[in-house]
Every structure is written in C-alpha cells, then in structure tokens.
Amino acid sequence: MSLRIMPKSALKAWIQKLQQRSFRIVGPKALHGRYVFDDIHDVNDLVIDYPTTVSAPKQYLLPSREVLFSFNAETMDMTAHIEAEPTVLVGVHTCDMHAIQLLDTVQNHGFADQHYRARRDALYLVSIECQKPCSAQCFCKDMETYSVTETFDLHLVDMGDAYAVQVGSEKGEALLQGFTNIWESTESDQQRLNEVMADKWQNFSFRLDSTLSQLPDVVGAGMHSGYWDELGDICLACGACTQVCPTCYCFDVTDEVDLTLTQGERVRVWDSCQIEKFAVVAGNHNFRSQLGRRQRHRFMRKGKYQYEAYGKMGCVGCGRCGMTCPVKINCIETFNHLTQELVAKQTPGEVKA
C-alpha cells in the first residue's frame, strides 16, 4: 500500500478537480449545529474534521427510497433500475467503513443484490482516521472499529498541516490521477504517522464492561432478561435508532402506480424492526408485538445474530442510535447492563436456599 502526503491546503483544490472530472462528491457538512452527509456543490461546505453525522452514509449505497424496476402494468414490460453514478464519499469515519464491510458481506451473500453492487462499484470511499472519540455515545474502541486497514480507496490521516493519504486500491489511485499537489511519503513522514497514531490510541478508552469477543455470549445470555421490558416501557417505537444506524438495512417493498394504473415502479424503502407491523403475518399474528421484544431483537442483531450469520458484528460502536433516541436508549448502557446481569448470575456466593 503506498502512502502519499497531501498538504491540507490542497484538499479543496483536489475536490474541485474531482468535481471537474464529473464525480459526484458527498461529504459531511454542517446543518443546525450538527453534521450530515450531503452532496457537496460548494467545496467550502465540506467539513472533514467533523465529530459525527446524524445519519450514516448508508444512504449512498442503500437509498432510503430506491426504485427496483419500473413497469407497465398492461404490457408487463419491466425495466430494472440499476443506477450508479460515480460518487466520491469523502470523510467517512472508520466505524462507518466497518459498517460498509458488513453491508458488502450481507448484500453479496447468497443472492447478490445487483442494485447494491452497482452503487458500491461506483462508490469511491475516502475515509479518515478519527483522532479522538466523536461523541459521548461512541464506543468504537470496544468494537475495534476505530481504525481501518482495508475497504477504503483512499484513507486520510490528519498530521497537522498535511494529510497522510494511504492508497487502498486502484480506484483510489485513479482519484489522484493528474493531481500534482501530492507526493510520495518519506521516511520521516512514516515516522510522523506512527507518532500520530500512537497518540491516537491514547485518546480512546473502553466504554464496555465486556470485550468484543465476549459480547455475543453476553448478549445471548440476556435473551430472557427483564431489562427488555424496561426498555419497552419507555421506547416510543419511533424507529429513529434503526434509521440512523450504519448497519441496519431492512426494507419494505411497495408498488407505486400512476393514477391511470398503467405506469409504475416497484420501490423499496427503509423499514424498521421497531415498528409494530414489522413481523405481522396473515391472520394478524404478530411475532413481535411487545416493544420489549422488538428492542431485544434489535440488540440481538447488533450484538449476536449478525456476528453468527456473517462473522461480523452488527454494531460498529458509532453511537448514533443513542444520540438519536428521544428516550436515550443506547448501546453502551444496554450492553453493560447485560454484562452486569451475567456477572451477577455467575458470581458464586449468593447461594439461595
């Protein structure tokens, strides 16, 4: 992997150059005191050293509303919509990169999703190393997502006046093509990078009471915990948690047809396991009618199921769900509560007669 150096002052010019090359640029920008991923038309709007964004960048791989195919209901002509526009996603935090790894795994698993594949192929990922925790809710150190070694096309590390740019792929190399204000790193750049990284590790602390490898078992042991009902009591079932989560990808599919009932589209839209009708079947039987059960399902997916199915955790520790939840249900407290329950169960001594 080659390492280059780009002076910070060159970043804007580089983005502008990419814009001239007709890339769609998406990156974090400020909105009402927070940050969101959005199209960058004016490079001055790009804020690359942001804390965290409200929503994950999954929107650019799995749009919240996506046309699968259009149809004519009378002739039965159908046309698949495989849409992908060369897009550079700039400033992706490493936790989100791990989330994209999970999405890659899931969407390519078994029946590969061509819509995802096309978007993914057209997406250029420029990630950035976080140097300190991005919020009170993040726990990326515990989830081992606070750095990334693969998946990116380019990876930036802030070294004060310059970025160290790791080139991760040919796509990454292509992004730098024809841009001259960047050069090969020297020995001393490597040295500085090592120092920056060494400092970085210090800035993060563990937030969970269990280790990553223990987590699936800890969560699994909580299957019958009374804690889920406690969460169920306060949960609003608003679904905001799953919408902002970088690893949630469940969807609903509906047909939308024009008023003459002829032309239409089959679309998929984000869905949420937190809403009441998510698991209803014929006869109106609901397999997860209780709020607590739905919360359990979410946390089981995050801490256990996804790991068992795909070998990757369903939570990357970004902290977004906890920041977004109106009643402040969050991963750190939940996982820690389950750990404490397990510890209490396993602690010998309190033998009851």
């Binding site: 699968l68 195919f69 149809f71 209901a73 039965m76 159908m78 698949a80 919509h81 495989i82 899931v106 969407q107 698993h109 078994g110 029946f111 590969a112 999703d113 061509q114 819509h115 299957m223 990808y249 469940c250 969807f251 609903d252 599919v253 509906t254 047909d255 047809v257 009932l261 239409g264 089959r266 998929r268 869905d271 396991c273 998510f278 698991a279 209803v280 079947v281 014929a282 006869g283 039987h285 397999f287 997860r288 059960r293 399902h297 089981m300 997916r301 256990k304 199921y305 996804q306 068992e308 199915a309």
Partner: protein, 284 residues
C-alpha cells in the same frame, strides 16, 4: 428448458419477476382459490415440495406463496393456492384467467424427501397448511413404493373450509394411505370427525421409531401438535414444519422473516423441530 431460478438470478435485478400466465383458476372455498400458472415457453419451475415462489401482481405488490402442486405432476405449469387476506392476495383473486402475474423463485429449503425414504410418514395439515403439503403428498404418493405407511390428518374450521376435496377423495380412495379429516364446526350433513386436529391423534395407531412427521398449519397448531408427537416417541429431527413469516424479498435481505438469527426465507421455510426448538420466536 431453463429453470426459473436460473432465470431469476440472471435477470438484471433479483427483485424483478418473470411474467407468467394464469391459465386456470378454481375457487376452493370462500376465500381460497387455486391458480394454475404457466411459465413462458422454455422455462420450467423445477421446484421441490415445500418451496415457495414470490408471486406479483404488477402494480399492487408481491407475496410468498407455496407451490402446492407436486413436481411429479407439473406438465409445464404449477399450482398456487391463495387465501385472500391482504393487498396482493386480494388482487390476485380479482384477476381473470389469462392474466399475467410475476413469479420469482422457487426459493427456500424444501422437505428433505430423500431422508424420508423407507420411513412411515405422518402428514398433519391445518387449514391452508394443506397447500404446501399437497405438493409433498403427491410426490410421496407418486413414488409410493419408496415409503412405509402413509397417514394424512387434515383439520379445517368447517366443511366449507376444507381445501382440495377432490384430492382428499382421490387419496382416500387409495388403499395405501390412511386419511382422517376433522372439522371444528360441523354442518348437519357432516358425518366425519369433529374437533381440533389433535383429537385425530387418538384415532390413529402410531409410534415414533420409524415415523417422520410433516406438519403445516397456523402458529397455534404447532403448540398443540408437537407435544403429542413427542409423547409418541418421534425424534426432534423427524418432525418437519413450515414456518410462515412476513417476507418482502425472499432472498435473505429485507429482514422481515428473521426468527432470531435465522432468515426463514433462506434457511427455511421448512425446518426440523430439532433445528428450531430452542428458538423462542419460532413459536411465539
């Protein structure tokens, strides 16, 4: 002949169905209709009993429906038995013969028929559960020599709700299958058993060692039938069931069909009791 699954996979989008024609429809009960579906020429469904297809009415939506005809009786077309409960199923009931629908699949795991060879088979069908089982029953009956005793138990709410009466008579007319039917709410001319399906269990003579059971019905039925089967000595791994969950994709992506970590559409819908008995959400 191209199998439909291959076609489904080679389309630009796995979510885009293949147009197929409804060549016949026959009303079975007030809310259930049997549809005969024909794929475009050159295509073959190539399904196994227990598998389902995703059925579309373009402009309305899509839903998973079990194939209820046996692969042994396919002749280029296949059958779906649909109960009108919601948007897609009502829409398909409004179609006329000759209409075009969309089909994707077949998806999911089928009954492991090969593993039943040489064994006695008990079929337990509650309500619409007879639809997916019908495919298996005919497969078994058309290869009758490969199996031991065959017993079919069918439960329905009332005589008018009984599905496939012709098939039931066809089977009952054979010597090599025992057929028992019960209804919960009999009409005056009903001469057969009355009661829920478990009441049939005392009428049959079975013990578990050489028997496999395949049961399909509404969620509550499993709760009552399972203890009976287990009490008669059937092994957990010899009890096979089909699970119904909401499915929006059929290909393991949409998340609706999850029971714990299991995607029902991919790993099921057919499971042995052994595989799911520890899953609370399977029987919730």
């Amino acid at each position: 002949m191209i199998t439909l699954l291959k076609e489904t996979l080679s389309r630009e989008s796995i979510y885009m169905p293949t147009p197929a024609r409804i060549t016949g429809m026959r009303s079975l009960t007030q809310s259930e209709t049997l549809f005969q579906v024909e794929l475009p020429s050159g295509f073959h469904l190539h399904h196994r009993p227990g598998q389902f297809v995703e059925l579309s009415v373009i402009g309305v939506g899509e839903a998973p429906i079990s194939v209820c005809s046996s692969p042994t009786r396919s002749n280029g077309s296949f059958e779906l038995c649909v109960r009108a409960v919601g948007k897609l199923t009502n829409a398909v009931h409004k179609l006329a013969a000759g209409s075009t629908v969309g089909i994707r699949g077949p998806f999911g795991r089928s009954f492991p028929v090969e593993r039943f060879h040489g064994r006695d088979i008990l079929f337990v069908a509650g309500g619409l559960g007879l639809a997916p089982l019908r495919s298996l029953i005919d497969e078994v009956m058309d290869h009758r020599g490969m199996f031991g005793r065959v017993i079919l138990l069918v439960g329905a709410r009332s005589p008018g709700d009984l599905l496939f009466p012709e098939d039931l008579s066809r089977w009952a007319a054979r010597e090599d299958i025992e057929v028992h039917i019960t209804v919960e709410r009999p009409t005056e001319d009903w001469v057969s058993n009355v009661g829920v399906i478990t009441t049939l269990f005392n009428k049959i003579d079975y013990q578990g060692r050489n028997m496999v059971a395949t049961i399909v019905g509404p969620p509550v039925m499993y709760k009552f039938v399972l203890p009976d089967l287990l009490a008669h000595g059937l092994a957990d791994s010899d009890i096979w069931m089909s699970f119904e969950r909401q499915m929006k994709c059929g290909v393991g992506k949409c998340g609706h069909c999850q029971m714990h970590h299991i995607y029902t559409c991919q790993e099921g819908p057919i499971f042995s009791y052994q595989e799911v008995k520890h899953l609370e959400e399977a029987f919730a």
